[in-house]
């Protein structure tokens, strides 16, 4: 002890020990090398961005840092000390905490309980809950991020975004738990947030930097450049680049991620051309009302992409679900190509040629333990059948062709979809509606949530291709920019009603500001 003190006095200050260092981390999954010798460093009081395409190994790496994935080889050093992280608790004791890519809250507990879950501290004494303490502890955390949520609200009564805030409030508990400066990991926290909430989050991240290190993952490179000090790029389970954000440009990052330069115009914007005389719109909605929306009128032409924008609770999601027959309606008429639509159930909607990609992929979009092939053909069984029987050959060639067309990263078409990275899962879900080519109306709820730029661009290209083949599309976009970039027309909803409609033709796009004006 005394010697160290002496040294400190005598020698010039040594290079500060990194908060976290990873050397040669390797992780194999059956058929995949998720991590192939990753090296990376997080310094103290630094916000490190982690970029990489879908399946690059980001989530796997981060899970290894909180003890959820046991690496096959390689070492992890926390503050210069080699550690073996066996569990979340173990990692928390070292001051490492994480917000997971897939939401991980207990839906039937209160927000307060979720926030303190696993480290109730003073909230529980001798196994007995002290609700007032618990609420106060949670309130402290929520105050940090300025969230107005009632700590005693049941989590499943909160909106998706509010739940994300609860998760962030929860991970900040690590400050209380460990006496070391914490390392906080955020795996794609912004993909479900809106700009205002993202701003709050970033303010929080900047506050954290004063005493902690943060690892931040996002597919939105502008965000990464905005909030991070440095970016490490992963590709194929290796670190392929490490640049300070001060001198990085999105294009360069993009090049590192995929190994080549991407085009700037990833919306593949093309002029929307109507052939000859204007036919009747493909989808006509008149006076549609339901639990969370009223009197919605909407027209979508064949080949047109219509974006619906609105703040949380605007009801746009429920409108989509209602059109797909998954949400009851109380009034209104809907016609598709002139035929009245029975909004009686999802099956009827499917056979009418309507496709729907739900936002909550993990719960509603895919069947986790089923194979990629089965998930892809779940809707359009006919595409893989000859007669009433499933034809393995037909299925194989069909699925394989879509796997390569959408460059879905999967070891095999027989792999369970839950083993794929989030972005690749989404591609499979999208492919489900494309395999038979007879879909007339696509309802896309946040179809690019969690996708990397490459995949996103691919999805956009697909949407364009479908549109030019005459498919009508309703898009609930991930961001206003996306809505503007992709849509031919934008419908603004607020409080369950359509409040405005903005033309959005190629070359005469409105700015986000124009839309925000309409939204509030």
């Amino acid at each position: 002890m005394s010697i160290e003190m002496e040294e400190k006095i005598v020698t010039p200050p040594p290079a500060p020990v990194p908060a976290l260092e990873v050397r040669g981390l390797v992780k194999h999954y059956p058929g995949v090398k998720a991590l192939d010798g990753v090296d990376f460093v997080v310094h103290q009081n630094e916000v490190l961005g982690l970029a990489g395409e879908n399946g690059a190994g980001k989530s796997t790496l981060l899970k290894a840092l909180v003890g959820l994935v046991k690496p096959d080889a390689g070492d992890i050093y926390v503050r210069g000390e080699k550690v073996r992280l066996r569990s979340v608790v173990n990692a928390a004791d070292h001051g490492i905490g994480m917000v997971f890519q897939e939401q991980s809250l207990v839906p039937n507990l209160t927000a307060a309980e979720n926030i303190v879950l696993g480290s109730e501290g003073a909230g529980v004494r001798g196994g007995v809950y002290r609700w007032d303490r618990m609420r106060r502890l949670a309130q402290e955390q929520l105050d940090k991020i300025g969230s107005p949520i009632d700590p005693l609200a049941r989590t499943d009564s909160l909106s998706f975004a509010d739940r994300q805030m609860v998760e962030i409030a929860k991970v900040l508990r690590i400050e209380q738990r460990s006496q070391h400066p914490p390392v906080i990991i955020l795996d794609e926290p912004t993909s479900v947030l809106e700009s205002k909430e993202i701003e709050t989050l970033f303010a929080q991240v900047r506050r954290l930097r004063a005493f902690a290190s943060v690892i931040f993952v996002s597919h939105r490179l502008d965000e990464v450049l905005d909030v991070c000090d440095r970016v490490t790029v992963l590709r194929g389970g290796r670190s392929v680049g490490d640049v300070p954000t001060a001198d990085a440009a999105p294009a360069e990052l993009h090049r590192m991620m995929i190994g080549s330069t991407g085009s700037d115009d990833h919306y593949h914007d093309t002029a929307f051309e109507r052939s000859g005389e204007e036919p009747r719109p493909r989808l006509v909605v008149r006076g549609l009302s339901g639990r969370t929306f009223r009197d919605v009128d909407l027209d979508v032409h064949a080949g047109e992409i219509v974006g619906i924008v609105g703040v949380h609770g605007s009801g746009r999601e429920d409108v989509c679900r209602a059109l797909f027959g998954a949400e009851p309606t109380t009034a209104g008429e809907v016609t598709l190509d002139g035929d009245a639509l029975q909004l009686s159930g999802t099956r009827a909607a499917c056979s009418a040629g309507i496709g729907y990609v739900p936002a909550e992929r993990k719960i509603e979009g895919m069947v986790g333990p089923m194979s990629v092939a089965d998930n892809m053909t779940l809707t359009r069984q006919r595409a893989r059948c000859s007669g009433p029987l499933v034809s393995p050959r037909k299925q194989a060639s069909l699925v394989d062709s879509w796997i390569s067309r959408l460059s879905i990263r999967t070891p095999h078409r027989g792999t369970a979809i839950q083993r794929l990275s989030g972005g690749n899962q989404q591609k499979v879900v999208l492919a489900r509606w494309l395999v038979s080519g007879d879909v007339r109306l696509l309802l896309l709820d946040h179809p690019t949530r969690g996708l990397d730029i490459g995949a996103r661009s691919e999805v956009y290209r697909l949407m364009r291709e479908l549109a030019s083949n005459g498919v009508a599309t309703v898009l609930l976009a991930d961001s206003l920019e996306e809505a503007i970039g992709m849509s031919d027309r934008i419908v603004v909803m607020s409080d369950g009603r359509v409040t405005a409609e903005v033309g959005c033709p190629s070359g005469a796009k409105p700015t986000p500001l124009d839309l925000v004006k309409e939204m509030v």
């Binding site: 509603e364 089923m370 089965d374 027989g414 489900r432």
Partner: protein, 329 residues
């Protein structure tokens, strides 16, 4: 033999074959069966004779049919507690109708049972009542109806010529009822495996909401599963009447828990999604061996129950493929 729905899929798409451990888990129900047979033989060498084994398989036949039908419901994520009461009711119908309908009685009874099963399915799907409750209610209603129509008594079968063929033997050693049971399972398994039903059932069982939003005919599949489950109960009833020469309002009641045990021992996940029909056949044989084997080899009654409880838990520990079941509840 124990190719399950799930693994059949993989063998279709992945001709390279599965890893050793995956093959082993698929074989586990058979391994459990062999282990129990071996243990019983050690306890009483007289048990391992052709006559004795034939008798055991014959005993298992109705259980196999009952379990196979209910397996479909379990695969869809539900449960059918009415199968035993339904079979009891069917024995009464069969015994009552045999004099009038003759050879048509068997299809008629199976048809009625299928219909009653479908009614439960409709109630479950459209009234949104958990299948546990619908079929628990069905169980008491079927029992009451059986009690009333039979006038609370045994209905003797005097002329069993149209169902006695079930007591014959195929190839001298295989009881006809066993052959029929295996045929039914084979047909069901093939239909499920070769058609889109496999995807629909699996998807419904693992994640009903995702299946529905993908446009899978979830409601129809579930109703169909209950319908088949009912029909199987009807067929099991025919087997029971053919060997008991009578129908009785509580004849099959005690087969409920063994049938459910057979499904679980086979390695089918009680939460739905993962499992298969052939697994239930192996499960039914395991359960039968335990039920008849333990007392016959001379285990005293009290210890028999304790052993039965312990072995059946151990068997499931062996057969359940945990990589396919996300949480064990």
């Amino acid at each position: 033999m124990s190719v399950t729905v799930e693994q059949a899929a993989e063998s279709v798409v992945q001709p390279k074959g599965r890893s050793v451990s995956e093959r082993l888990t698929a074989l586990m129900p058979l391994i459990a069966l062999a282990a129990i047979l071996a243990a019983l033989t050690v306890a009483d060498p007289g048990f391992f004779t052709q006559r004795s084994l034939t008798a055991a398989t014959m005993t298992a036949a109705p259980l196999i049919v009952l379990a196979a039908g209910a397996t479909l419901v379990v695969l869809c994520g539900g449960i059918d507690l009415s199968i035993a009461a339904m079979a009891s009711l069917s024995t009464v119908f069969l015994a009552l109708w045999l004099p009038d309908l003759g050879a048509l009685t068997t299809p008629a009874v199976i048809g009625v049972a299928a219909l009653l099963g479908a009614v439960q399915g409709v109630a479950h799907v459209y009234l949104r009542i958990p299948s546990f409750i619908v079929t628990l209610g069905g169980m008491s209603i079927f029992s009451a109806v059986a009690l009333v129509v039979s006038d609370a008594g045994t209905v003797p079968v005097t002329d069993d010529s149209t169902i006695s063929w079930l007591n014959l033997y195929v190839a001298r050693y295989i009881p006809m009822s066993v052959a029929v049971a295996l045929l039914v399972v084979a047909v069901l398994a093939l239909v499920v495996r070769l058609t889109p039903l496999r995807s629909w059932i699996t998807a419904t069982g693992y994640s009903e909401s995702a299946a529905r939003l993908a446009g899978a005919p979830v409601d129809l599949v579930k109703i169909g599963a209950f319908c088949v489950s009912g029909a199987c109960a009807g067929l099991a009833a025919v087997m029971l009447v053919s060997r008991n020469f009578s129908g009785n309002p509580s004849m099959a009641d005690n087969l409920l828990l063994p049938a459910v045990a057979a499904i679980v021992v086979g390695g089918t996940a009680i939460t739905g999604g993962h499992g298969g029909l052939w697994r239930s056949v192996a499960g039914a044989l395991v359960v039968t061996l335990l039920r008849v084997g333990l007392p016959i080899v001379g285990v005293p009654s009290a210890y028999e129950q304790i052993l039965y409880g312990a072995i059946i838990v151990a068997a499931v520990a062996l057969t359940l493929d945990r990589s396919k079941v996300m949480v064990i509840k």
